[in-house]
């Protein structure tokens, strides 16, 4: 009797009957349509709440041709096998999810190893979602350009590229790469390597910043020290150890991600190279776990959660037909290893 929830009302029609109005009026009342009188609106809404009625979203989506769904597509490079275990993705996803929830949108997660991005045209993302967020460009830049022909709008998280027809949101990769490299230079390092796949636009920009920082000090980047390290741990480890065997003449390394950095550090340790004494390492992304390595990892912070918000605002802007422009977010060097500075060869402790 004192049941808090009354018999639930299934359809708009039932609610209308209950309120003694037509379906049309009930619909308008729920949507705060000004055509409806204040009194009627209040009554209908009260009844809706009382009977815990909520509109059938399927029907609504069908009628309005609008699902309130935004798809998130992770562009995973199969070759370099940057897979989801990079915490960066999760934090980004969290940021996007939160921002979408605030705007009353839902998140459709599409996680396909994307070799053929164009195949997405016939996939769910383009069919069901009102808009799409691509995380990363991988090496699929041209395919993305082609997707702009479709009528589902999208934005991309990534790095600068040449001919671009889509909306891009990204960090200041050039600045980040520059700051990271500069940090090592300031610590007295001279032979600085770069670990990362420069075919990826974001990483290419970081690498450009790296090269620029070297140039400012009159240093020429050694091509042999730019290594295409895959994103995931096991591979990174292999490549790193191989490099150490063949050309151990470097004393610092700028990594394209924290995961790479941690893999490198771990590998160095296994091979008896001391970090940061022999080789100093800088990461990228400032994932939560990075601060807990020992020594704590110096890295470039991107405000990932905020990035998620910007992505959401951009894509919803497109959905609503607003003018949307590219966005570049700040990146910031986070220095954690105060003892990296070269003091003349003596290792502390």
């Amino acid at each position: 009797m004192a049941k808090e929830r009354k018999k639930t009302v299934a359809s708009l029609q039932e609610l209308a009957d209950l309120a003694g109005v037509s379906r049309a009026t009930a619909s308008r009342a729920l949507n705060d349509n000004p055509m409806i009188s204040e009194k009627t609106r209040a009554r209908v809404q009260a009844l809706a709440a009382e009977h815990s009625f909520s509109i059938n979203r399927q029907a609504r989506a069908f009628r309005l041709r609008r699902s309130n769904l935004i798809a998130v597509v992770f562009m995973l490079d199969v070759k370099s096998d940057q897979h989801m275990s990079d915490p960066f993705f999760l934090e980004m996803l969290g940021g996007i999810a939160d921002a979408l929830a605030e705007r009353d949108y839902d998140l459709l997660l599409t996680h396909a190893p994307v070799t053929d991005v164009l195949g997405l045209r016939n996939g769910r993302a383009f069919q069901q979602a009102d808009g799409i967020i691509f995380i990363g460009q991988g090496e699929q830049h041209d395919a993305l350009n082609e997707l702009t022909e479709e009528d589902t709008p999208f934005v991309v998280w990534g790095g600068p590229v040449g001919e671009k027809r889509y909306i891009l949101v990204g960090g200041d990769n050039h600045g980040g790469g520059h700051a990271a490299t500069r940090h090592l230079l300031d610590a007295g390092r001279r032979r600085i390597a770069f670990f990362g796949n420069t075919r990826n636009p974001e990483i290419a920009a970081r690498h450009a910043g790296y090269a620029a920082a070297l140039a400012e000090r009159g240093l020429e980047p050694d091509p042999e020290l730019t290594v295409d390290v895959p994103f995931d741990m096991p591979h990174a480890r292999d490549v790193t150890s191989r490099l150490l065997e063949t050309a151990r003449q470097f004393d610092g390394v700028v990594c394209a991600s924290d995961v790479i950095a941690l893999a490198a550090i771990s590998t160095f340790a296994a091979l008896g190279v001391r970090v940061p004494d022999d080789i100093a390492v800088v990461g990228y992304d400032d994932v939560a776990l990075a601060s807990y390595s020992s020594p704590a990892l110096t890295t470039v912070r991107q405000n990932i959660r905020w990035a998620g918000r910007v992505l959401v605002e951009s894509v919803l802007g497109l959905v609503n037909g607003d003018d949307v422009t590219d966005t570049q977010l700040q990146s910031e060097l986070v220095v954690r290893d105060s003892s990296m500075r070269r003091t003349g060869g003596s290792a502390p402790e």
Copy 2:
């Protein structure tokens, strides 16, 4: 002219017209309904492919009252603030996403800090999705029981609990906790702590395994050494350092997650405690990054991607009205620190 994609066909009606059949026949042909002759079916499907027609999923979902969407809800404890930065979640999500994609389902991600789980009843997950996967029970066990009243079926990843009315999938938490503890005991440790929030059912089971392992060796677990460490790094660090100040009489610690373990190790290091010489640490989950800490972290592996598959199969089983039972997956100790054994007080290096 040699355009590979002909003018796309928007609706079933158009396709039917093109094929010279009725909408009904076209629909049945596309769905391989045996009522339709082989010839007609082939013709319709060929035309559909040729004009890259794909059914309007909104309309279909509306008509069939079935969206082919499975919602994934992360149960985040606000108090203990276990947030998404734990890579465990991401790997699980990847496993679920893959398994769903194979079954032609999509993933609706719902990421709400769930204080009031019952509020989900009116949320999107219950409205749009055909089924739901909850990741973790948090401390919301009773609320979950109540949700079984709703008509959207769901399964839960988590640990054993008392009165349970829902389908549960989980790892062998008791066995894992036992193995982890046993490992430390075998290495000669005697004062072993447990870090984790035992109000969480999974962790409670791990703790039970921990206690059981101690008991087998005639040791009584010291309540003071069971510490409710929050899941995220900063808090874990605080709590850990406090513990060290007040009661530093332990030589091993079983952690409820790798993230906690890494935080603990980092804290120990900062406080001058040597790992594993002074205190040996075992983690849980075997997240990718764990293997790269130094020393590499011994941990309990759960096959998370497989877990994702099992969750998907279970929830789809429920959706289809099959009988579904609880599942317990294997857990396995991964030993990475060969040098942990106590050798009489002499620290190597």
